[in-house]
Subunit: 394 residues, 2 copies
């Protein structure tokens, strides 16, 4: 006799957001006339010298398990790299993970209990806010303000960080808006969280993609970070990834930095999540860090030009208001009269061959907006803008 209840996933999982970006991309599946700017992915292959390092490791027979925390030279390279950008960070506080999202999953398993209250600044890359829900957390959202640029109302965030809050989730530079949290706001949040024992989860994946007013300084530029102001034993965990800074999205290599007292438990959780990243991928990561400054410099110069170009072109179109992003690689712009950005983006694929990400993929605060990834050539961006222009003219 079959049971009444169907064989389905638990409720909390069924209620997770499925990717609306993927839903749009599926409309264009199998069409080679669609210009895709929907995913948060550079349009360039990983530089050859990084790929060569992985190939050399494979030739060396580097096909065995590694330490849960990652191979020591990679941890040392990450620690040295971060220490040039932020306060000195010991390699013992660095754990290598199988992607930035895996770092977020591990740190969420580490600190988030069922029923915990978690606060996120939004709109936001869905993964950051959905992962805590898998662990049974309630996620409270504090929305950035739309304007000349996207801005955070600090007092609103502090008010939301009630003493019973377990963690605050901050992604700066922010996907999708390009908002960069200023140092003074970080200091205020850190002081507040110290007072109430609230964890700060900083998704720092875009920290190197910032566009200062003085382009010449961009080669060493880095967004303000909690790692600049926090002590080692503060309740601050930073997650990061090789994906954006070194054009390595497909490699699934990331890391986290945590207080020393958490590292033993992080080792256990990495064992139970993926055990380790592939050794030959880690070897490529070492080379990326040690010889990657030029990649980052070139990428920032390229994206800055792309941002400026797209910002100007979009704002010249009727009905479109695009704030100027200070970081990351997206323009998150308003389209007048749009009440369902998912419907709009599907139309754009179908009718204009233009692939953009619907704003409501990043939360209800994103409704009415559209995300455009500008990690692309000016030629392709121009082609995309013309498609949008023609679509809007109809």
């Amino acid at each position: 006799m079959p049971l009444d209840h169907p064989a389905v996933a638990r409720n909390v999982v069924r209620q997770l957001e499925a990717s609306r970006i993927r839903e749009v991309a599926n409309v264009g599946m199998g069409r080679d006339d669609v210009l895709p700017f929907w995913f948060g992915e550079p349009d360039q292959v990983t530089p050859a010298f990084i790929r060569d390092a992985a190939k050399a490791a494979l030739d060396d027979g580097d096909t065995f398990y590694t330490h849960n925390y990652g191979i020591p030279p990679l941890r040392a390279a990450i620690a040295a790299y971060l220490s040039t950008l932020h306060r000195p960070i010991d390699a013992s506080r660095v754990a290598v993970t199988s992607s930035g999202v895996s770092a977020l999953m591990v740190l969420s398993q580490l600190i988030i209990n069922p029923g915990d209250r978690v606060v996120a600044v939004t709109p936001l890359w869905p993964n950051v806010a959905e992962i805590p829900k898998i662990l049974g957390a309630e996620v409270v959202r504090v929305a950035l303000q739309f304007g000349e640029t996207w801005e955070l109302d600090l007092q609103q965030l502090l008010d939301a960080l009630t003493p019973d809050t377990r963690a605050v989730l901050l992604n700066s530079p922010n996907n999708p808006t390009g908002w960069v949290m200023p140092r003074e706001q970080q200091e205020a949040v850190l002081a507040h969280c110290r007072r109430h024992g609230i964890w700060i989860v900083a998704d720092d994946v875009y920290e190197r993609l910032v566009y200062s007013e003085q382009p010449s300084s961009e080669r060493q530029a880095c967004a303000p970070s909690f790692l600049d102001i926090a002590d080692a034993d503060d309740r601050v965990i930073s997650s990061n990834s090789f994906s954006k800074s070194w054009l390595m999205t497909g490699w699934r290599l990331g890391w986290l930095v945590a207080p020393p007292e958490l590292m033993t438990d992080i080792g256990k959780l990495i064992e139970y999540n993926t055990s380790c990243a592939p050794g030959f991928v880690q070897r490529a990561g070492i080379v990326a860090i040690e010889r990657g400054d030029e990649i980052i410099g070139n990428t920032v110069t390229r994206y800055r030009a792309a941002r400026d170009f797209l910002y100007q072109r979009l704002n010249a179109l009727p009905g479109i208001t695009a704030p100027r992003p200070k970081g990351a690689m997206y323009l998150f712009f308003r389209v007048d009269g749009v009440s369902d950005s998912l419907v709009l983006c599907k139309q754009l694929v179908r009718d204009a061959g233009l692939g953009l990400a619907p704003g409501n993929a990043f939360g209800t605060e994103g409704e009415g907006y559209v995300r455009w990834c500008f990690a692309s050539s000016l030629e392709r961006l121009e082609d995309g803008v013309q498609r949008l222009e023609r679509f809007l003219a109809v």
Copy 2:
């Protein structure tokens, strides 16, 4: 003013078992005179033609995100491979994961709620039983019986599978004991679980490492599997890995097979765990499956000889009783008079240069036993046995 409660991980994580195998291995860290048989890892590098496939994919510029479920040709290859071993399995029911343990994490997130009752047959590779605890489950253990071979008391398991049980965790062939669950026991468990709506989680990582009484048939051999007897929409989820069958431990590539109705939620959870396995690793996986029969055949022949050799040599030592494993790649043997296998294994490293895994790493049922991974050459195994012999003689 600092808070009273320290900045530590949540209780359930602090209570997770840290790896006692690693604790033993740490004793030998930096010594090159230790013979290691502690980890569940073959002593052979991944075959060159598989590494070449990854290198070719890197040359092709395959460094971008892939589908959450894995690239279609890999899903198709896995489905075709499984369909030759078991009942026909459609590629739409296969999801590629970033390791076998990631498959276990994803499927646990899928079905296990805080407070759920989960039953595991033990002793057991710690990850299978610890992952549900991260999600707040209570894990009830049913111990295999020690004897000529390790055996399951079926009635004891069925009695433990009370109607309020959410899932049963079965690893057959079993790590560490080499127990292989017979078809009739699988049929009884399936019928029972159908009756009560209990999920069957089958960790099938060692399914190709079985040692029949007729060695000539080993090239196509496979352990009895729930995938042989279950319908597509039964509450059965199988997790698997490229690690053992194709000598690919370090690649972190696995998969799971689940009922069709779960696949949408599995896609979401893969997105939130690692998003996808690296594309170039997946390309290597295709080649491993399509051209890997010879590897599996050679591996089984080699391990069978290693098992028979070690079985005979160990049982000839005083105070040692080693049941004969029917599958996997371990001997799990009793050492008379041992009340703390962790202490014993540390002594073995320090005093004899022999690296073995303590039985209590696999649960309290494993206390008094030691695990020896025989995925090694006869010469190394003989060297190890002589070290053990000298140690016991002191």
